[in-house]
Symmetry: C2
Amino acid sequence: MKVAILIEEFVEDVEFLYPYYRFKEEGWDVDVISPNRGTFKGKKGMTHKSDKSIVEVSPDDYDILFIPGGYAPDRLRRYPEVLEFVKKIYDTGKIVGSICHGPWVLISAGIVKGKRIAGYYAIKDDLVNAGAIYTGNEVEHDGNLFTGTDPSAMSELMKMIIEHAKKYS
Amino acid sequence: MKVAILIEEFVEDVEFLYPYYRFKEEGWDVDVISPNRGTFKGKKGMTHKSDKSIVEVSPDDYDILFIPGGYAPDRLRRYPEVLEFVKKIYDTGKIVGSICHGPWVLISAGIVKGKRIAGYYAIKDDLVNAGAIYTGNEVEHDGNLFTGTDPSAMSELMKMIIEHAKKYS
């Protein structure tokens, strides 16, 4: 199983770190991907390094995509290559997980319309305006989209993603 | 003439500071307002202090509202009191100016539908999904809404706002 995690400047540190180690715990390969390869300062001050740039990877190489929150999503959504990558992974029925402000990227990838999406309450209006169904639940699972509100939803979200990945792989 | 500027954590420092001093240059009173009174760290690291909390002020007290960008708007839009303040100032035909990510607050205040709005390109999808007309211009003036894309648009934006305020006051 191969996992892609997207990061950029101002990523919510723990929303990157916990999924990163949790996926590795399963023995899965995890690639940390950013628009340009480099080091990124998290919202809470830690420094994170990416393994690959978005132009070095193909959606075909991954089974799972995860997009952490913080303000990294505001930066990720600016890159057409990132949005194409997200959309292709989604369109092939692979797992797309995201949390907190992460669904901003899903909005710009055009994949939330008519879907039940959990996300941080600050972006509720953006989700609703994009046609998503914002239930207010801590986690949501709709098709191959798995989403959560904030760090308090991470454990449940990761459990859902990992169980689903094992069941359908 | 009395001006309200809304700030929160992660405000884009220069998008607060230049308008603050520019309005004062006109001899106008400027109140820096935040959801709770306090000091706020800007996105570029400076520390800014608010004069009043949103519950201490009334829309009736102000002639102009300005909302800087950075990630402060993501925080400001979480407060119903802030959104009510913005909407009331807008509904009474007073000037509402905003720049960069600031229009996120205008989206949540429900005042962008059918309006020509300039804003940072990262939030274009949110503006379009909210029904705004995103022309891609550096500055836009539609009715009493004055908006701009980023710091490069600030001088033109402030000139427009100040000229309009003097003309119609």
